[in-house]
Symmetry: C2
């Protein structure tokens, strides 16, 4: 149990505690965006037959420059019934199998068709416009590897190979417990001392956006009993998120309730702004994040710690690309903790320009809602001028 | 009706033909990732009461340096029943409303509590650790604007304001008709002249990845009657995609069937590789894309023409960010058409490096499946050396 650790150590401890991804069988139509746990290999040669690449005529090269009879036609999907021999042409469509004996396919724009005969140009070569068996992909070839993303083209390969399921890493299940007696559901008119619960829907959307599907959400009151009951109910979730009640106040029941439930605390408090009172624990395979109730702290906790853990559980990389940018205005970094500042990144000509979304106070999510990116400032950055060089990463919805 | 137009003209014609986005009411929990059609305004002042920002004691500044009795406690969510007057302190929790008369909240770490009294430090100031009513956001303020993306923090704002629905631009409905007698469904063992249908699942995944939800998919045989029937059945879809049968061969029934169905052709054929025989038409509000059957041509057609049209229908911007990169190997651009080359973009130090996924022939999707980005080469680019400067855009799943 560490005290007030730095943000890099915190992320490292989270990822070290995150279990390896677990493979499952996914129906192909549900596999988009997941990561393959096993390679994808060709079930036969592709093309599986010598394929005509153009609409035209299958011929032998010996017939170059000659006018020969057209003895039949093969459309795509039709099997051939005869061979091609010198002195006869077969009309053929793109994607159709070239019959045995075919040496070239001549585009229909390059021949002169008259009745049942066709005049073949003289400059034809062996193999012209024919894609030979296995030339694009040989049977058994490992086309995609374990760890590859199931992209649209990967799905097309899998479908071509006849895969109705693929082995991929399963998305984790997620349980969300918001806490706070001051919170009412969004559809309830709040009393004078109450506000509406905004963390539940935000967390759900952030989790869905990165591929989590199984999400349960509940709200616990600020009593140890109610919190204990909620925590016990979600023991089987892969990831448990709690919001609020995570500091050291009288009603901050989350750390105590988690300890009581058998969770092993890993850290509490990270030297960062926002989101200092972040509590992280494990319970068997379950990862548990006690996030602050402040929406901006909660948002940063999901972006920086929960999301990489979920990516690891899904077999994905855990790092976001850092882009170079210039600061769009002066900015003064104060305080002794690392600052994760929400910014608006905009393309100006060939460079990115980031403008901090500086709100009125640490709970102002109204200004922060305009952000599409995040800049990390070390506590010693001090006063930075307009045009200063920084790095930023996109929030995941804008990646 | 233009002939063999350039890719920029083609995209412009597609976007000009694309109708303006249509607003609908979306339940808040389904609105993530959509675009607001109307502003989002604060329903009351935030905070709605003077909010304690720390766990501690609400006091008057006149009591600086004094030891005073603690006369009660207010937790978050509890309404106050009394006022604060000089000579008494009230224990208060983060998020709780400061009762009338409160002039400062002193953090519990900064006081000495002994029984029912508390010693207040001498350096306290008016307003300390109190967030005044409306200081973060005033009632009626337009917090988010029409055109803003419904991000996680935007959802949190909407929930805070009590919005159970938001006015957003609706995602278009999509109909997909694949064609080709050589194609069998993925679960069917193909005959010797057949291959499995891979375009249907690829198109569905690409559309879902950009937010389309209502998708119907069918397969038409290469007869005018079957195709006509399929086209008539999907007259109400906002966007209709057909694959295959779009060239000028004997069985390329798509352009004719579309004309017969009352569609107005806009263009046929674009000076690009892959995907030259792209047919684009409209039928009332419906956008119709006749895409080539070749999976790589189909993929490019969706990426470059269909996706921007769908983005416009959803109220989103239609341009992708261009990133600078260096070529990872020599590359020779041949031919007279603009080349859209699938590449693998990788971060090497502080720069991007792109390597073309050059397959064995124009139908090799097996090599192309490793791509995560796209580079546009003009036909006159010629021979380019390793390290040459290029621009690329990410494929949407990797953005």
């Amino acid at each position: 149990m560490h005290h007030m650790i730095d943000p890099d150590t915190a992320l490292r401890l989270v990822l070290e505690a995150t279990p390896s991804p677990e493979p499952i069988w996914l129906p192909l139509e549900e596999a988009s965006g997941f990561v393959l746990a096993e390679p994808l290999c060709a079930d036969r040669d592709y093309p599986p037959f010598p394929r005509a690449m153009m609409d035209g005529y299958a011929v032998c090269v010996a017939d170059a420059g000659k006018t020969i009879p057209v003895v039949g036609e093969i459309a795509a999907g039709r099997a051939w019934s005869s061979e091609i021999a010198p002195g006869s042409a077969l009309e053929i469509m793109t994607g159709a199998p070239c019959p045995p004996g075919s040496e070239a396919v001549i585009q229909k724009e390059r021949v002169v068709r008259a009745g049942d005969t066709v005049a073949i140009p003289s400059d034809i070569t062996h193999g012209m416009n024919i894609s030979p068996i296995g030339s694009e992909c040989a049977r058994g070839k490992e086309v995609l590897h374990a760890g590859d993303l199931v992209s649209p083209l990967a799905l097309a390969c899998a479908a071509t190979f006849g895969r109705v399921t693929v082995r991929a890493y399963r998305p984790p299940s997620l349980a969300i417990i918001t806490t706070g007696d001051e919170l009412v559901p969004v559809e309830v008119e709040p009393g004078p001392a109450q506000i509406r619960n905004s963390n539940g829907i935000m967390l759900t959307a952030m989790a869905r956006a990165i591929g989590v599907r199984e999400i349960t959400a509940g709200h616990a009151f600020d009593t140890p009993d109610d919190l204990d009951a909620h925590i016990q109910r979600v023991v089987s979730a892969d990831v448990l998120l709690l919001t609020g009640a995570v500091s050291e106040g009288k009603y901050d029941n989350v750390p105590g309730a988690l300890r009581k439930s058998g969770a092993t605390p890993v850290f509490h408090k990270v030297a960062q702004r926002p989101g200092k009172p972040l509590f992280f624990a494990t319970r068997g395979r379950q990862l548990i994040f006690g996030l602050p109730g402040n929406p901006l702290s909660c948002h940063l906790g999901i972006h920086r710690y929960v999301t990489p853990a979920i990516w690891k559980l899904m077999g994905k990389g855990t790092e976001r690309v850092q882009h170079r940018a210039v600061l769009g205005c002066r900015f003064n970094v104060k305080g002794s903790r690392t600052l994760f500042q929400l910014v608006r990144a905009e393309r100006v000509g060939d460079e990115w320009r980031v403008t901090p979304c500086v709100g009125r106070g640490s709970a102002d999510m109204y200004t922060a809602a305009h952000a599409n990116a995040l800049v990390r400032f070390s506590p010693d950055a001090g006063e930075m001028g307009e045009g200063a060089q920084v790095h930023f990463e996109f929030l995941d919805m804008w990646r």
